[in-house]
């Protein structure tokens, strides 16, 4: 076990998979000679060369489609889209081809592509560099969506995503690449379906994913320390498909649910988890589920306004206290 950074975990997964299989290759803007905006491909250009570590032109839909086409022949591209804000441009190929080709060919073709891309609100990047797009991707049948919240998950999910025969979108976070965490030394794979209980508790479940897992964990500490509320934190690191069983299991234990998301509320993870609770374990509830979401605005540039647009730990604590009638 070693403590490494998020980007190092990604780099290690890339490196191992490329060393194992000559048909694994990676591509994206500035990932080769420049070493990658977030260093996820650092050193790989020198090791594997320009044909397998490809600096692409700024043609998101084009190179995503190219990756998908190559996957029809058994290649396993790992495509980095510099920011989810730019992934909008690749949606045609991702949704119209990757997500549907296995189905519409009657099972003849597969599109085992991995697309990694960071989203979220970083620091004063403004409206066009702060999108949170997971909700868009997770609504598409035929596409898997995962979102790692730690170096351990980043490594294990990328490893599985490369080997899986389905197209996988990995939603990373701009602010997490330098985060440190323990990663086992031996090779491992994380399931592409499921969730993880990142803190056990009995009074309320806080559902988070990606960065909001940390808000949930810190809120849980405060709730336990100051308010005698024992919160469970569930990390929904697989967004599509969502872990219905895991959601049901936790809510059946705590009977209360708060979903915390960095994105705007409409048609999002919170809405979807609420619907699952409604459908699968409504009668387990002691209180109506609550969402803690971003404001329904583009992200402003001004730092104070930017912070006000997305939730924080205190919003989570407040939502739980309100649920318990403590405010």
């Amino acid at each position: 076990m070693a403590e490494i950074m998020f980007w190092e975990a990604l780099q290690r997964a890339h490196d191992e998979e490329m060393a194992r299989d000559p048909l694994v290759y990676c591509m994206g803007e500035d990932i080769g000679v420049a070493g990658g905006t977030y260093k996820a491909t650092k050193g790989l250009y020198e090791k594997y060369g320009a044909e397998r570590v490809i600096d692409t032109p700024i043609s998101e839909n084009g190179f995503t489609g190219l990756g998908i086409g190559s996957s029809f022949l058994g290649c396993r591209p790992i495509i980095e889209i510099m920011s989810v804000n730019f992934a909008w441009l690749a949606m045609d190929q991702l949704f119209n081809t990757a997500a549907k080709v296995h189905y519409m060919s009657g099972g003849q073709l597969m599109a085992p592509v991995v697309v990694r891309s960071p989203g979220g609100t970083a620091h004063m990047l403004g409206a066009q560099h702060s999108a949170r797009m997971e909700k868009v991707f997770m609504g598409i049948a035929g596409l898997r969506v995962v979102t790692p919240s730690s170096p351990r998950q980043a490594y294990g999910l990328l490893k599985s995503a490369v080997r899986c025969n389905d197209p996988v979108f990995i939603n990373e976070h701009e602010m997490m690449y330098n985060m440190k965490g323990d990663v086992p030394d031996e090779e491992y794979f994380l399931p592409l379906e499921g969730s993880e209980i990142s803190r056990g508790g009995k009074d309320v479940t806080l559902f988070g994913y990606n960065v909001s897992v940390y808000w949930c964990q810190q809120a849980a500490e405060i709730l336990s320390r100051n308010h005698n509320i024992d919160a469970e934190v569930v990390d929904l690191y697989c967004l599509s498909p969502l872990d219905r069983e895991g959601i049901k299991r936790s809510v059946s234990k705590t009977h209360r649910a708060v979903i915390v998301e960095e994105a705007e509320p409409a048609v999002g993870v919170g809405a979807e988890v609420m619907a699952i609770i409604n459908e699968d374990c409504f009668y387990e509830l002691d209180a109506p589920p609550v969402r803690v979401s971003a404001e329904n605005t583009p992200i402003p540039y001004n730092h104070k306004l930017e912070r006000a647009a997305i939730p924080d730990i205190h919003n989570v604590v407040d939502a739980v206290l309100k649920m318990f009638g403590r405010t």
Partner: protein, 330 residues
Amino acid sequence: MDSDLKKKLLREMLFARRFEERCYEAYVERKIGGFLHLYSGEEACAHGVLEAARPGQDYVITSYRDHVHAIKCGMDPKVVMAELFAKETGCCKGLGGSMHIFGVEQRFMGGYALVGGPFPLAAGIAKGIQMKGGDEICICFLGDAANNQGTFHESLNMAKLWNLPVLYVCENNLYGIGTRIDRSTAVVDQYKRVSSYNIPSAQADGQDVEVVYEAAQKAVDHVRSGKGPYFLELMTYRYRGHSMSDSNAYREKKEERMWGGRDPIIMLRDSLIEAGETSAEKFKAMDAEILEEIENEVIRFAEESPEPSMDLLHKYVMTENDPYVKGGSK
């Protein structure tokens, strides 16, 4: 082109025409649903190009106007028709439809319904060929109007940049649905548009299969010899509306008559008759034979095949039993 090859192509193109026209009828009879785009009038394009390549070995990808390319790649017309009839015996088990014919065994990598979508997919298939180290090429057939998509420019740029073995064939039938090319496209000659990517290109008569074949031989040789992408523009015309739901009211009768007089099948037939290689009677007999084959084998197979079972609804959303979904075998 020797006369045996000409005769073979005449039969194939006539079969394609009859196949498409029978689809028209089946659509009217409501046996075929959805959108149906017919290839009548454009047969020399697919046949001339693929004859110059290695169908079944080279990879082929195209748009929704895809039946004839699929058959020329070696797919069984019965299985194509069964797909159009939405039957379980269809190539995609009734999940694809007319716009999504796939025959991966024959390396027909599919018909796609998003205009311009196959441009980057073709470049990617070529990338796959390059990585695996074969001497196959990828041939991408698309319409003229598709060239106004961003994917056209993005893909040509990457194909040239990475020297990918891909041949882009532009079937220029002068229209994107009801909009004539000069009303949608600043540069009407499509082959000129690729010069900004330094990709060699040519324009040829798409109604004369011999001309297509010769132009395609040059194009295929270029790509197969490792010199990178090539762009071939074929001037052609579709005889039917864009799809079955198209009024086809936007074209002048004079224009239709002019192109009707340049029917690729009639032109080839007449040149063979002139050379004494066939006769009007022989041609008629061949036609009758084809019609019978289509009726008694192709249509019958499609008609008599069962509908897909209901469990197919969920079967191919994701690949089945992938161990890595559960976190690997370890």
